[in-house]
Amino acid sequence: MKVLVAVKRVIDPYAKIRVNADGSGVETSNMKMSMNPFCEIAVEEAIRLKEAGLATEIVVISIGDSTAQETLRNALALGADRAIHVETESMLEPLAVAKVLKQVMSQELPQLVLVGKQSIDTDNNQVAQMLAALTDRPQGTFASKLVIEGESALITREVDGGLETLSLQLPAIISTDLRLNEPRYASLPNIMRAKKKPLHVVPIESLAVDIESRQQVLEVMAPKSRAAGQSVASVDELVDKLRNEAKVL
């Protein structure tokens, strides 16, 4: 079984972001970048499938400028077999990402596509669902457990009231939730080895996909900041404040 994993480079989840004063966006230069945490989980799951003898090849793909290759090398160091870098200077919206992935799927013919459930920058949570729609395949979103059984995937999903289990016919598109697994770290020898693994650069134009944006970001604003709070010295004072000042008790 071939597994395709899509990974995205984002601002590090622990970095404090700054909104540009002119409202044009978020400051990205000089920020620490890393692989989107949900994508790391997707890569880890693919590696575990390979270790279990279920996956034969893991292909990782990332879409973006040349810096996307760092993210791909990182995935190769973790255990992916080869990488595809779809090169573009544009920031693609989820629908365009899904169209690119569909095109790559039609060439690679994976049995399983793993993506993170959302990227922590745009917080869209759309790509897996859109890709499944475009390819007319089943979707297993927010997966916290994945079991491959012959021609189907049994997936446990994290839903609002608890958990839900679905059986999906392969090929299927799965999006990963935080509790699917705990990603490993790349060892130094593996990082060195990853430099020799194949990384294929594909100019986005060669895929003949409509990547025109459908949405204009008119302005990016900082959220309203909260007024400074006060510290209280005792439970009595806290209860008194909540009752008489905040009037919430």
Binding site: Q129, Q139, D177, V220, V232
Partner: protein, 314 residues
């Protein structure tokens, strides 16, 4: 062109999800007529009550045994079939809506606006990005707009309108079970209010130390009639189930009162609660980031503070 909005109702075949009513309220801000689609099994009563929601002009009911636990693969084609008549397609930004709507958008070849917190006009909305650390004002150029609505940012639509909408039963389509089949669900059973209706949320974090100690959070919640939440650390440590996680990737809450106990205040957690009206933080670490957003902060030993607090709140 006049807007016409289709709201996809979330329900469990017995009750309408609270976020559906919030989505209906958001739909009323777009202007134009509103229709609601109910897909399920034995949903006559639900369709009936939706017909009494303020602003709803039409209820479309697709009722069949195979839709008892409908998958996105089942519901998306139904919406696409109806899509000609509508300009806007809205669902709550719950796991239900997040799962379904991007599939619908892609089938319609349009983008989606996720987790909308404000509707400015029929094509422009505000939505949070970067875990709520920035807000984007976004205009869609698509001919049809697909959105999910963040419930905590909207009031609920009133459920006792004098004008009753018509309820229309639609022929069910074939199920897509060859692609995706529901096997079972494990629901967390709780007597406590759910996040979307709770006025008070008490959340616990790693600082509680164990599942047994987490009972302190539950006791305080029960005393205040509130819901129980948790940080990712508390969920990962097995103190509570994952559906109670508050944060960027869990639930987004905005109650009147949010009490964070033993929670340090990671960016990802704050994304889920910083729009609460009053925030209280109780933590032994005076430098914890949670104190930066707290209206009232109490530094000290949780195991001394909590029993006293449970005792002293009304």
């Amino acid at each position: 062109m006049d807007s016409k909005t289709l709201v996809i109702a979330e329900h469990d075949n017995n009750n309408i999800a609270a976020d559906t009513l919030k989505t209906l309220h958001a739909a009323s801000q777009i202007g134009g007529d509103i229709a609601v689609l109910v897909v399920g099994n034995n949903v006559t009563a639900i369709a009936e009550s939706l017909s009494k929601v303020k602003g709803v002009k039409q209820v479309l009911r697709v009722d069949a045994e195979q839709f008892k636990h409908p998958t996105a693969e089942d519901v998306a084609p139904i919406i696409v079939e109806l899509s000609e008549a509508f300009t806007h397609f809205l669902a709550p930004a719950t796991t239900f809506g997040k799962n379904l709507m991007p599939r619908v958008a892609a089938l319609l070849d349009v983008g989606q606006l996720s987790d909308v917190i404000q509707i400015e006009s029929s094509d422009t909305v505000i939505r949070p990005i970067y875990a709520g650390n920035a807000l984007a004002r976004v205009k869609s150029d698509d001919s049809k707009l697909v959105m999910t609505i963040r419930g905590s940012a909207f009031d609920s639509a009133s459920t006792n309108s004098q004008e009753h909408a018509s309820v229309e039963a639609l022929e069910p389509q074939a199920s897509q079970q060859t692609l995706a089949r529901f096997i079972d669900s494990q629901q967390t059973v709780s007597e406590r209010p759910d996040f979307s209706s709770a006025k008070v949320v008490i959340s616990g974090g790693r600082g509680l130390g164990s599942k047994e100690n987490f009972a302190l959070v539950e006791r305080l919640a029960d005393k205040l009639g509130g819901a129980v939440g948790a940080s990712r650390a508390a969920v990962d440590a097995g103190f509570v189930s994952n559906d109670l996680q508050v944060g960027q990737t869990g639930k987004i809450v905005a109650p009147e009162l949010y009490i964070a106990i033993g929670i340090s205040g990671a960016i990802q957690h704050m994304a889920g609660m910083k729009d609460s009206k009053v925030i209280v933080a109780i933590n032994s670490d005076p430098d914890a980031a949670i104190f930066e957003v707290a209206d009232y902060g109490l530094v000290g030993d949780l195991f001394e503070i909590m029993p006293e607090l449970i005792d002293k709140v009304p």
